[in-house]
Symmetry: C2
Subunit: 266 residues, 2 copies
């Protein structure tokens, strides 16, 4: 049984608390929040505190607070040499105070308050300085049903950045699609199965192989028609850039005849 | 029972043939392909032909050939006044020969040869000139388990264009994410659950409400860090444009303090 002290009371901390509570390989000894009110509802299930000097012993301390607050909070911890991790994709491991055994326990998923989270669909990226610490964190991830992945700092940064593309930017493309359909009185809902299928497809195929459409085919007539029918200058800019990007990837831009013939049959 | 003659032997025609074969409310009388070899494997299940002058009677003729070939093919049909539809999102209904009863039966989904298609996840957009034709096509869609949607030409164009954003462009963002992770030796696979969850989220929430991340929060520090760590100029351009787009949508760009305060709590 791995014992945990949770620090913070936002989305991530709350979802982790629920997951640890359901696990019989991990338990939360104590939950800290500077605003006690945020966790008061849980006080029958776990000891709560808003006082850092009263933190109890635990195998792992998880700091799940806003990125900007992690470093300072870690330096205020009233102990040394214990395993303390943060849950951020972008904060460095060395931003944690050096008096501690430092680690990162980064759940690569998007969390929303309210909605339940099934941690078996949440990959956890683990970074540690010492190998023994890695093994504890790996067990902790497995205790809530997650797949864990050992990463170094560069890899974690790359994953965090790539997550912005597949999550925030993709969602913005959905938004643009919503604007386009709405402007013509068409239902955005009709696109939902295609949105799902597009995401499903790359579970098995690489995005390279999964690509289709006018840009990949270099179908100039359709591209021109699309650009003409886009009312918003901003939408046109996005259309042009991503069309160029697809052509770049698939060697269908003018002047790269060699590349074109290589990738034609994919 | 609605009788169908299929014209064309590509992805869409093949998937439709399989779906009609499983239905007891529709049947394929005959299948035409200019290249007979493409459909020879089906000749024990359906009458096949490569001769337009031998087309049989049917309630609906479905032209599922390359966009560019639809118009000419329709004018070569050796009959008048029968219901003939194409399956394209972008070709006009009036591109079909005017001697025919014209319609569009546009499956808004991405089809891949090989992979099976469950038509209950394929919305079909129907456009007709006459209402009676609409009812036949609606029944035909329902016969293969699809949800049907009546659309006009503008709405169909908008949906087709929006589909490029949620399918081709989204897939290209997955590709960029693949390039980013690969360049740092991180596994693209770790992003797959997030890709699915991002698509899942907008099944219930609007993309506007579902948005999160540094651009939405206008977290300048993280944005700067991300831009700095992107090695590719091209990736940086995409990052900047989509960040600007999110800021535009959520009123977090500088100089729009009013909008910002309105949308802050979403
Ligand atoms: N949300 C996600 O989808 C997600 C995914 C992966 C990783 N992460 C990472 O997980 C961490 C937490 O994110 P979150 O989404 O759970 O954040 P959140 O919902 O915004 O909650 C932030 C928490 O941090 C606390 N906090 C902020 N400043 C503090 C300070 N100076 N001292 C003590 N507590 C402070 C807040 O307390 P008050 O309520 O008192 O302000 C709140 O409990 C971040 O590092 C984030 O990058 C988030
Ligand atoms: N694929 C999708 O995801 C999708 C989704 C929705 C709608 N659509 C639409 O469905 C239609 C068919 O697309 P598809 O993906 O099935 O195409 P495809 O797989 O590329 O197949 C095209 C078919 O058209 C035939 N063809 C081309 N030119 C012809 C001509 N001049 N005369 C007779 N036959 C000709 C081809 O025959 P040969 O083999 O003899 O060349 C082939 O059988 C298009 O309008 C497309 O816009 C496609």
């Amino acid at each position: 049984m791995i014992s945990v002290v949770l620090i913070g009371a936002g989305n991530v901390a709350t979802h982790l608390f629920k997951a640890f509570s359901l696990s019989n390989q991990a338990s939360v000894n104590q939950w800290y929040s500077r605003t006690l009110k945020s966790i008061e509802a849980y006080k029958t299930q776990v000891e709560i505190t808003d006082n850092l000097s009263q933190l109890k012993d635990a195998d792992v301390y998880i700091i799940a607070v806003s990125d900007d607050a992690i470093s300072e909070l870690s330096s205020k911890l009233p102990f040394e040499d214990r395993l303390v991790v943060h849950t951020s994709g972008s904060v460095g491991i060395y931003d944690l105070d050096k008096k501690l055994k430092r680690g990162v326990f980064y759940p690569l998923q998007t969390f929303t308050k309210g909605a339940d989270v099934d941690f078996s669909t949440v990959p956890i990226c683990i970074e540690t300085i010492k190998k023994t610490d890695y093994h504890i964190l790996k067990q902790l991830g497995q205790a809530i049903g997650s797949k864990t992945h050992r990463v170094n700092s560069d890899q974690r940064s790359a994953l965090h950045l790539a997550a912005v593309f597949v999550n925030n930017f993709t969602n913005q493309l959905y938004r643009v699609a919503h604007e386009i359909t709405e402007s013509k009185g068409a239902e955005f809902d009709i696109l939902k199965p295609l949105i799902l299928e597009t995401a499903n497809k790359v579970q098995d195929l690489s995005p390279y192989v999964a690509q289709t459409g006018p840009a990949k085919r270099n179908d100039k007539k359709t591209i021109k028609k699309h650009l003409k029918s886009l009312d918003s200058e901003h939408h046109r800019t996005i259309y042009e850039l991503l069309t160029t990007s697809i052509k770049k990837t698939h060697g269908t831009s003018t002047g790269s005849a060699t590349k074109r013939s290589i990738t034609k049959n994919n």
